[in-house]
Amino acid sequence: MLPEIGHFALILALCMALFQAVLPLWGAAVNNHQYMAVAKSAAQGHLLFVLISFAALTAAFITHDFSVAYVAHNSNSALPLLYRVSAVWGAHEGSLLLWALILVLWTNAVLLFSKNLPREMVARVVAVLGLISIGFILFMLFTSNPFDRLMIVPADGRDLNPLLQDFGLAIHPPMLYLGYVGFAVPFSFAIAAMLGGRLDAAWAKWSRPWTSIAWMFLTLGITLGSWWAYYELGWGGWWFWDPVENASFMPWLIGLALIHSLAATEKRNVFKAWTVLLAIIAFSLSLLGTFLVRSGVLTSVHAFATDPTRGVFILIFLVLVVGGSLALYAFRAPKIKSTGEFQLFSRETALLLNNIILVVACASILLGTLYPLLLDALNLGKISVGPPYFNSVFVPLTAPLAVLLGVGVFLRWKKDEPQRVLGLLMLPAVISIVTGVILSLLLPEFKVAAMIGLILAVWVAVATGYQFYSRVNKNKKLTTALLEIPKGFYGMTLAHIGVSVFIVGITLTSLYSQEKDVRLEPGQTYQLGDYEFEFRGVIQNQGANYVANEGLVIVRKDGEVIQEMKPQKRIYRVQKMPMTEAAIDAGVSRDLFVALGEQLDSKGAWSVRLYVKPFIRWIWLGAIIMGLGGLLAAFDRRYRSVKIKQSVDSESDAGVTV
């Protein structure tokens, strides 16, 4: 019964989405306040029904209702409760439902915080979000219904993929989707502004906090994914340039470009058309990412041949969203006039360069990700583009971005003097070069690449710190002066510090990691760098839904035991799938990583993977700091004051508001 209620609620949600999309759009076009007011109640009803639907699916998982095909394929009676809940979004159908839920949550959040925006604007934004929701719910109902029943009810489920039975991956999709779907908000603002023909600085101001928050969620989602891959896949890497990762990285890059171009559009009225275009691209790439990962196209483009409805629906949906918004853009863009003027040497130019670099970097990833798919689909051969391509393109492209960051934050809007900036930057430049060189000499082995990386990291940190220092008003009490600085500026400073931490992490991890696969018999030791690993053998162990071979490795440094590590090799009972659970000793300056390979002979010898990874935590730490910077910036007072001003404007006809 419950699954049918969920299915029915989804159909009702579709009806609500139709109301939410059509009436407010119509109302905004003919200036009918009642129609526009439908936006709010329709979005609330929409939320209610999607929630019911989502709750019904969750309940089916919790109560082991294996008559539901999706539950039977992704759960099992021995699966722990936490993973039964996270299994809701463990595969295609359920993750679409999560997508729809998050979309309608964002919609209601927009309604909640935009009470004082012009009525037509809110109506159009909510309507565009409704249109997107219609597409998603139709997709679910027609091709990927999570509530489909099985004719013959199996005795037990096929279990959730063991790789997904992990806390990090349980919360990774919701975070990622909050980011992906979050970009629907600036997208809708851009579409709404184009529909209304009012592309002033105000829409940029409204879009900014939403873009920052969406980007923050995407940052955290990607970071969680990277961290998960590191400890769960057993290879000890943190980024593989896998198409699945690239799919989330592309909207992240464009979102980052959007954050910077929105700043220029809002403050200086420049790059308006470009910013609109970025908002469209960011959301289009989010859609592409969702479909790439969840539709199975990456496993095999020919999988679509067996079930063409999904593929065709996805293509139509993408064409409608991307084509429709680009058509509207082509129609409106010539009328979008950027009124701001700026000189070649100015902050605007720096932001423009930032955007170009990020967009080119994103395009290079798009090429490497989609080209093999395209060739395969056209039967022109099977190729793969590995990490060497991405590294050799991405690193040289983005290193100048770090240099630019330090210069850009000092540049004045509109026009600046090279002499002034050069004078200002002399000291930070000298400090970072000297510090970078000294730090790189302290490393176990001198490497030019490490020196460059460290100089860049120090440069970003020093320039950011110096810029913050120069912003503090020295004539006032320190606390007053600090309080006067807007949160947006704090956010930017924090995010840029995160960039510095991130560069340190990447540089040192990729250049100084020590990795060794060895054969060890019980009692044997292996020396890797400063650490001595002693293998004590393997014992059997029982888990809730798996059996494990657990190894014991004693780690010593300078003769003293510093850690006992217990890597596991698990076999999950239902899917008979072996899984490597690495043992990790995390630290600020290094991680120790031990993973079991397989038993090699009857003497108890195992193949063992030993890694020493310096500063790898800094990568994720830096990313988290960047994300927090985005969050902080979204709470700038400026975004609230604009609402107060707007409320004064619209007070004259306040009687009709909902």
Binding site: V385, V518, R609
Partner: protein
């Protein structure tokens, strides 16, 4: 041309030049790092490159896995039901590597006709046969 236009033109020219250089490098890197997939029969027929890395896929022949004593080195045969090639790999095999399973290995041919892999991939799925391998195992039309 007014000075503002001149500056704008300069900005555009600089940007176009910069982007073209970046695109040029990207395409070059792309070309150099493309890796092609070959089936066992392709390799036997001499279609695979002699010096460049490529990806070789096939099914691990039952009973063909041999370990070297005292090291991690392993030899096994790959087949597409038509031809057989021996693969040498020195490292830890992936969790799902086993006889009778389809795998993909990355590496190059040695002069003695053995494929020396520096990476062996088996996907995390019980019934998984890499699509490339499944394709190559299909009975060939005459």
């Amino acid at each position: 041309m007014t000075p503002i236009r001149k500056k704008r033109l300069l900005l555009i020219v600089l940007m176009v030049a910069g982007v073209s250089v970046a695109v040029g490098f990207a395409l070059k890197a792309f070309n150099e790092n493309l890796m092609f997939f070959f089936s066992v029969t392709d390799v036997a027929k001499g279609k695979a490159p002699a010096v460049k890395d490529f990806r070789l896929g096939g099914m691990v022949v039952n009973g063909s896995v041999k370990r070297e004593d005292g090291s991690l080195a392993v030899m096994f045969d790959l087949t597409d039901n038509a031809e057989v090639i021996t693969v040498y790999y020195d490292g830890i095999l992936p969790d799902l590597f086993r006889e009778g399973q389809g795998i993909i290995s990355k590496g190059k041919m040695r002069a003695d006709g053995v494929f020396e892999a520096d990476e062996v991939l088996a996907k995390h799925d019980e019934n998984y046969m890499p699509p490339e391998v499944a394709e190559s195992m299909k009975p060939k039309k005459p």
